[in-house]
């Protein structure tokens, strides 16, 4: 499903060149759940960005569902994202001007998927927000906002879902609820899930667990 080879990322700063990722080798199969853990600044968010095609590597290859996304331009990657990728972010990233329902509909509309409204309503119902369809993000609690984000991520039925610290902005109890929802839906939909987290209890729920240390990745077996 997702495979990298010799993936590296360097950035130039004023003083020197910084190597954030060094020769990452990673393979995650269809339907697996994987966690990437590591200290702040270890490069895990950078890796997530590369895997999801939000950024381009300095060297190496990334095969996403059989396509080497390194060879695609930004627009081709965008189209690929719209068809195959879903996201859940730490800061929710709901559009403030859109209602909960409209936020969920957005990726469906972008991908040109039919019956966007019905599908969105269905997923919002599945995350328990059927009473809040027409609320704006600012009138929802943090947990509710993240549930909208989860509905949005699953509504377009992606083959792979990336989650970046999905509980990072939530209290423990709310975070636990959101995690239940995320894994529950993942199981029902059979999606491949890759998440980045500090939270070891969250990482432990994944089938596979990778640790990032100073730009290098190691699987904890």
């Amino acid at each position: 499903m997702i495979k990298t080879s010799q993936l590296s990322k360097r950035v130039s700063t004023a003083e020197s060149e910084l190597e954030i990722l060094r020769g990452i080798e990673l393979e995650i199969k269809q339907g697996e759940t994987a966690a990437i853990v590591g200290a702040s600044g270890s490069g895990k968010s950078t890796l997530l960005g590369l895997l999801a095609g939000l950024d381009t590597p300095s060297a190496g290859a990334i095969l996403l569902d059989g396509t080497n996304i390194v060879n695609l331009d930004e627009d081709q990657r965008a189209t690929l994202r719209s068809q195959k990728v879903g996201f859940v972010f730490q800061s929710f990233q709901l559009l403030p001007a859109l209602t909960a329902l409209e936020n969920v509909m957005l990726p469906l509309e972008l991908a040109g998927i039919a019956h966007a409204r019905e599908k969105s309503e269905e997923f919002l119902t599945r995350v328990g927000l059927d009473e809040r369809l027409h609320h704006y993000p600012r009138t929802l609690s943090g947990g509710e906002q993240q549930r909208v984000a989860i509905a949005r991520a699953f509504a377009s039925q992606p083959v792979i879902l990336f989650a970046d610290e999905p509980t990072g902005n939530l209290d423990t109890a709310t975070g636990a609820n959101v995690i239940e929802l995320l894994f529950g839906l993942n199981e029902e939909e059979g999606t491949t899930l890759v998440l980045v987290t500090h939270d070891n209890s969250l990482a432990d729920r994944c089938q596979r667990k990778f640790t990032m240390t100073a730009g290098q990745l190691e699987e904890a077996l």
Binding site: A78, T79, F89, A97, L106, E109, L110, R152
Partner: protein, 824 residues
């Protein structure tokens, strides 16, 4: 995406609901409204004022001729679909049954006379009549009634004709057109002209063919008739016949177009600011959309379509509001503009639409186009840079498009160049100075108290953005200063043109033996009288002994000219010596000073010898100086002036002027009773009319100034609110760290006040440059550095921007910090 058009509608609607579009849409709407309102107002005012001014001619266009106007010219007027009228004027002795006689200025009228304006005649009924005299009847000016001792119903004799007095002439539209048609007016019907037997070949008669109609028709007639004019025939239009009014109108039009152009510029500035803010606020949204799979093309298409809807909406709404605004402005003037015509034409709407197009395309679009390039990575790394800075190329394209728009709008290269130049100075100097000063203020700030340190550090940290704001504020203040300064000069100039107490009566033919009696008459009645000038009628016969062709000669080029000569040893007030030098007092040298146009007509330059004839005497003089005369001043002006000693040798009459209040009009008759041989030229009606026009235009200018001030204020508000977001976040952090309300508000106030005074400095530099160019080059006014503006610009900049900024940022200190931090 399935349907980009539907999606763009949804985006627009959602943004609208979210309040994101407010500033951008207001700025666009403002641009269209200002342009439609001002250009509509200018069109309508010009239309009405021209019509009113046309009444000075009693027509839109006049062919004046010393010979009868050819029949085919009249036919041409008819076939062109123009209105036609005619007047024939000459001087003639008029006699009454009681053997009184008086030299009258006779005007025989026919056709549709008057085509513009109207006669007002007292026919003994309660309401004055405006009808023409029927064949066999005449109207007499009150003074003629008095001199001839006749009443309505009596007979008077003009040449061989016996005519009945049927009314007293109160006013006629073209009373000033025969400036030297001395003597009180008698108006008769042109059907009676042959019966008088006065008009013979060779008699001194002025024939006038009056024409009125649409400007296209007039233009075509003018083009047809102009090449056929021969010696002694002239075309007169409002501008040419009344330089005072023509120049007044021209300046007013210049000012209003200037104001309109400023409106466009201010709106463009507001749109630039608003679009940048809109773009910044949408960056996160676009990053999310891109992470969800939107391509660059989709994003650009979406925003381009949204902008298109926004532009169309602002054109429709702006045109409507613009129409209402010009209507309201006009209604405020309604009682000053009798019989006004409610018509603004399509041009204002077209101008508004093109303005919207340019504003959307060159000012709103570039920051939104860049949204397509936002990196989706921003969803996980907020610090990812966004290319939201205003690029030099965009600014250049914007300036070029704005320049073309203004040029099209004002059709005036100088005006456009002056304004763009001033803006370039403000922008160029702005970024340079703002950066330098902002750096300097940081130095000061680090040694100052915490509030100041906070303020100045904040200003410097947002270096580019602060500089941009300073420049925008600077441009807005600069444009307002320019407009205010030009308006003040213009109004002052107009007030000076016809000050209170400007002589409105001229007295000619005062024989030296009557001088004492005349002065006694005035002093007894406490009427102020001007200086007495000697006046002699004479003719320039030759230049450097080369005889000039006769006045009626068919040859082109220089020819003999007849004029009223005067003498004085002091250069007349308001005359400017452009060549040569004025003579010393008491000189007995044979010198002469010429008006520049007159000198050109006879082909004379300083140092040339002129042969002059007065009555039967011929003598030679040297041209000592050439003067520019202000013909708008309504003061006695002379083409030819000699030293006092020279003219003393010739028999000459005296000439003077005086001012009469409207209710003192009877003094004219009394004066003629005392000295019946005087000729009095009455200019009171003409001067009063010019004053009315100036008053109207002045009021219009004040109204337009208010509109532009409002536009300027909106730019300032747009600029200030654009920076609120930036401040919100860091102020919340500072409050969370324990900074008090006072500290934060103080810092915000200081920051904006400092930017305001910087903007004030820039504005003054730009406005002095633009003011100089506009006033000296375009409006032909004298330029003076407006020192008063310097402290005012800096002070007002600080107070207004500081106040607006603090007001706009009040949420920063009143919103709970946690809420603000969560929202961002």
């Amino acid at each position: 995406m399935k349907s980009p058009i539907a999606a763009s509608f949804r985006l627009l609607l959602r943004d609208w609901r979210g309040g994101e579009l407010g500033v951008l849409f207001s700025a666009l709407l403002l641009a269209v409204t200002v342009v439609v309102a001002i250009s509509g107002f200018v069109n309508r005012l010009q239309f009405n004022l021209e019509r009113e001014s046309a009444s000075f001619l009693a027509a839109d266009l006049v062919v004046s001729s010393a010979k009868p106007v050819p029949l085919e010219w009249r036919a041409k007027v008819d076939t062109e679909g123009l209105q036609r009228g005619e007047t024939i004027t000459f001087s003639s002795m008029v006699i009454s049954d009681n053997d009184e006689m008086f030299l009258a200025s006779v005007k025989a009228v026919g056709g549709g006379y008057p085509l513009r304006g109207s006669l007002s005649v007292d026919v003994g009924s309660a309401q004055p009549s405006s009808r023409l005299p029927a064949p066999g009847s005449v109207f007499l000016a009150p003074r003629l009634v008095q001199q001839l001792r006749v009443a309505v119903g009596d007979a008077v004799y003009v040449g061989d004709a016996t005519l009945t007095v049927t009314g007293t002439l109160l006013s006629e539209p073209d009373s000033t057109s025969g400036f030297f048609g001395y003597g009180p007016r008698l108006v008769m019907n042109s059907a009676d002209l042959d019966a008088t037997g006065i008009v013979q070949p060779g008699s001194r008669v002025t024939y006038r063919l009056l024409v009125a109609g649409s400007s296209n028709q007039l233009e075509s007639f003018r083009d047809w008739v102009d090449p056929q004019l021969t010696q002694g025939q002239r075309l007169l239009s409002v501008d040419e016949s009344q330089p005072g009014i023509g120049a007044t109108l021209e300046r007013a039009r210049g000012f209003l177009l200037l104001a309109g152009s400023l409106g466009v510029m201010l709106a463009a500035a507001a749109i630039l600011v608003a679009a940048r803010r809109f773009g910044e606020r949408h960056t996160d949204q676009v990053a999310v959309m891109k992470s969800l799979g939107a391509t660059k093309r989709m994003i650009q298409q979406l925003y381009a379509l949204s902008l298109t809807w926004l532009g169309l909406l602002s054109i429709v709404l702006g045109s409507g509001i613009g129409w209402l605004a010009q209507s309201a402005m006009f209604n405020a003037l309604a009682d000053q503009l009798p019989g006004e015509i409610n018509r603004i034409g399509v041009t204002p709407y077209l101008t508004g639409a093109v303005t919207a197009l340019v504003c959307v395309g060159f000012f709103a679009w570039p920051p939104l186009a860049r949204l397509g390039g936002v990196s989706p990575l921003r969803v996980i790394r907020r610090e990812t840079t966004i290319a939201n800075s205003t690029r030099a190329l965009d600014l250049l394209l914007g300036a070029a498009s704005l320049g073309l728009l203004m040029l099209w709008y004002s059709r005036d290269l100088q005006l456009t160049a002056a304004l763009l130049g001033a803006v370039a100075i403000t922008v160029g100097l702005g970024f340079f100075v703002a950066h330098g000063l902002l750096g300097g203020t940081r130095q000061i700030g680090s040694n100052a108290g915490s509030v100041w340190r906070l303020a100045l550090a904040g200003m410097q940290r947002r270096g580019n953005s602060s500089a941009f704001q300073v420049v925008i504020f600077g441009i807005a203040i600069m444009l307002l200063l320019v407009l205010t300064a030009v308006r003040t000069s213009l109004l002052d100039q107009w007030r000076l043109q016809i000050p209170e107490g400007t002589p409105n009566h001229f007295v000619l033919n005062v024989s030296p033996s009557d001088e004492a009696r005349l002065l006694t008459f005035f002093s007894e009645r406490e009427i102020e009288v001007g200086e007495l000038y000697p006046a002699a009628r004479g003719r320039v016969m030759a230049v450097n002994n080369a005889p000039l062709p006769d006045r009626d000669s068919a040859e082109g080029g220089a020819r003999q000219r007849e004029a009223n000569f005067t003498s004085t040893d002091t250069a007349p007030e308001g005359n400017e010596i452009v060549e040569g030098a004025w003579w010393s007092v008491g000189t007995d040298a044979a010198l002469v000073s010429l008006e520049d146009g007159f000198a050109q007509d006879i082909g004379a330059r300083v140092g040339d010898q002129l042969t002059i004839r007065i009555a039967a005497d011929e003598f030679s003089v040297e041209v000592a100086s050439i003067r520019k005369v202000n013909w708008e001043s309504m003061q006695p002006n002379f083409f030819v002036i000699f030293p006092d000693q020279l003219l003393l040798k010739f028999p000459n009459m005296l000439f003077t002027s005086f001012y009469l209040e409207p209710d003192e009009k009877r003094r004219v008759g009394e004066l003629l009773d005392v000295i019946p041989t005087l000729t009095i030229i009455e200019l009171d009606v003409a001067i009063a009319e010019i004053k009315t026009i100036i008053d109207q235009v002045s009021q219009a200018i004040e109204l337009v100034l208010i509109v532009i001030l409002v536009a300027g204020a909106l730019v300032l508000i747009a600029g200030v609110s654009a920076s609120v977001d930036e401040r919100l976040h860091e102020s919340a952090i500072l409050r969370a760290l324990g900074a008090g309300r006072g500290t934060l508000l103080g810092a915000v106030a200081i920051e904006f006040a400092a930017m305001g005074s910087l903007a004030g400095v820039l504005a003054i530099l730009g406005s002095e440059a633009a003011g100089w160019a506009l006033q000296t080059q375009m409006l032909e006014l004298d330029y003076q550095v407006q020192w008063i503006l310097w402290p005012m610009g800096i002070g007002l900049g600080a107070i207004i921007i500081g106040g607006l900024g603090t007001f706009a940022c009040r949420r920063v200190v009143s919103a709970p910090p946690l809420k603000v931090l969560r929202e961002l």
